[in-house]
C-alpha cells in the first residue's frame, strides 16, 4: 500500500483540507504541520490551535477537544516523527473511540525541520497505517493521491470516526512560520471553541 502512494505536498494538502472546513477544530502539531496550517488559514481561522512545543501531543490535545465538544469534528495534523514519539496515544484514541476525531499524518520519513534526518520508521519501512489499524483504529487509510486525500477528508467530515488518514509527503519546508505567541494561540482557539468571548 505504502509503495503505491504518491508523494504529495503538505502545504497543498493542508490547503485542500482547510478549504472544506466550517467550524471544525484543527490542532496543528509542532513544526511544519502547524506552520502550513497557519499559512493555509491566512492566520485567520480561530478554530485552529498551533502547537509551538510539546512534540507528540497533537493527537492527545485533539482527543481532549473532541471529548469536551462531542458535537464538533476535530482534526489533528501530526508529522510522522511526532507520532512516533507518542504512539501509545493511538491505543487511547481507539479505546475512547471518539466519533468526531480524525487524525491526519504527514509522512515524509524524516525530521525535516532539524535537517532531514531519517526517522527510524523510514529506515525500517514501518507502515503507520498498519500501526494505527493494529492499535484498533479500524478506519485508517493511506491517501494514494490528492483526489483520494480529499475523498477521505470528505468521508471523515460526513461519518463517524475515529479516522486516521496518512499521506506521504515531500521534504519541502513550510511556506511560512507561525508567530511564536503561545498565549495568543490558546486565547484565539478558545474563542473559536466558543469558550471565550471575542
Amino acid at each position: 500500500m505504502l509503495r503505491n502512494t504518491k508523494v504529495m505536498n503538505r502545504f497543498d494538502l493542508t490547503q485542500r483540507l482547510v478549504a472544506k472546513l466550517k467550524d471544525e477544530a484543527v490542532v496543528g502539531g509542532i513544526g511544519f504541520s502547524n506552520f502550513d496550517l497557519w499559512a493555509s488559514s491566512g492566520g485567520q481561522r480561530l478554530e485552529n490551535f498551533y502547537m509551538l512545543g510539546s512534540m507528540g501531543l497533537a493527537v492527545p490535545i485533539a482527543l481532549g477537544v473532541a471529548i469536551a465538544q462531542p458535537q464538533r469534528k476535530v482534526f489533528a495534523l501530526e508529522g510522522d516523527g511526532s507520532l512516533l514519539m507518542q504512539l501509545g496515544c493511538l491505543t487511547t484514541v481507539a479505546a475512547q473511540a471518539p466519533k468526531n476525531l480524525a487524525i491526519i499524518v504527514w509522512d515524509n520519513g524524516m525530521y525535516a525541520i532539524t535537517g532531514g534526518q531519517a526517522t527510524p520508521a523510514a529506515q525500517a519501512g514501518t507502515d503507520i497505517v498498519a500501526i494505527a489499524r493494529g492499535a484498533g483504529i479500524a478506519q485508517s487509510a493511506w491517501a494514494s493521491d490528492e483526489a483520494e486525500f480529499e475523498a477521505l477528508v470528505d468521508q471523515s467530515l460526513a461519518g463517524d470516526g475515529p479516522w486516521l488518514i496518512a499521506a506521504r509527503i515531500d521534504s519541502e519546508r513550510a511556506v511560512k512560520q507561525t508567530p511564536r505567541d503561545p498565549v495568543l494561540h490558546r486565547q484565539r482557539f478558545m474563542q473559536g471553541m466558543g469558550v471565550r468571548g471575542a
Binding site: 509551538l52 512534540m55 507528540g56 501531543l57 481532549g64 477537544v65 464538533r72 487511547t92 490558546r186
Partner: protein, 175 residues
C-alpha cells in the same frame, strides 16, 4: 464543608473535584490512587480513563480545558518525572490551568532506590517552572488544599500540582 470525621481522603478528593466541575479524570495507574480512580469510574459524573503515558494525559486535559471541560491528571512520582517538556511548552507557555495529582513515592519508607532518587527531582522541577504545588499530609486539611488549589489554578490560569504524602495515604510499602 465535607464531614472529615467520616470521610476518607479519596472521598474528599472526589467530592471537591465534583464541586469544582472537574469532570475529566485521566491517569496512568497507581496503587495508592486506586480508590480515586475506582471512584471516578463508578460515578457517571466523571469521564475517567487511562492514558498510555503521562504526557498524553496532559495533552488530553489541556485540549479539553481549551474546549470548555475541566480535568485532572493523576499519576505517581515517576510519571511526573516524564513531564517537564510538556509542562514548560504547553501548560506553562499557554497559561493552561492544568491540574495534576501525584501520589508521592520515594520517601517515608520507600523500598525502590529508583523511586527514592526520582522523587527528589519533583519539587525542584515544579519550582523551576514556577508551578504552584502543595503537599497534602493531613486528612483535615485535604478539602481546603484541594479546593483552594483548583480555584487558584483556574482563577489565575496557571498549572498546579497536588502531592499526596504517604502521611495522608499510607503510601506503598514492601509487603
Amino acid at each position: 464543608m465535607v464531614d472529615t470525621t467520616t470521610k476518607t481522603w479519596h472521598g474528599i478528593v472526589l467530592d471537591v473535584l465534583k464541586r469544582n466541575e472537574v469532570r475529566l479524570v485521566t491517569y496512568v495507574p497507581d496503587n495508592v490512587l486506586r480508590p480515586v480512580i475506582d471512584g471516578a469510574h463508578a460515578d457517571p459524573y466523571f469521564t475517567a480513563f487511562a492514558a498510555a503515558r503521562e504526557e498524553e494525559a496532559v495533552g488530553i486535559v489541556s485540549g479539553a480545558w481549551m474546549a470548555g471541560m475541566r480535568g485532572i491528571v493523576l499519576m505517581q512520582t515517576s510519571g511526573f518525572a516524564t513531564l517537564p517538556n510538556v509542562l514548560a511548552s504547553l501548560a506553562c507557555a499557554c497559561q493552561i490551568p492544568l491540574l495534576m495529582m501525584v501520589s508521592e513515592r520515594g520517601t517515608l519508607g520507600e523500598f525502590n532506590l529508583g523511586q527514592a532518587l526520582v522523587c527528589r527531582t519533583m519539587r525542584p522541577v515544579l519550582d523551576a517552572l514556577g508551578v504552584e504545588h502543595h503537599t497534602i499530609k493531613r486528612l483535615d486539611e485535604t478539602e481546603f488544599i484541594v479546593d483552594r488549589t483548583i480555584r487558584q489554578a483556574i482563577g489565575t490560569q496557571a498549572p498546579a500540582c497536588l502531592i499526596l504524602s504517604p502521611l495522608l495515604t499510607g503510601g506503598k510499602v514492601l509487603s
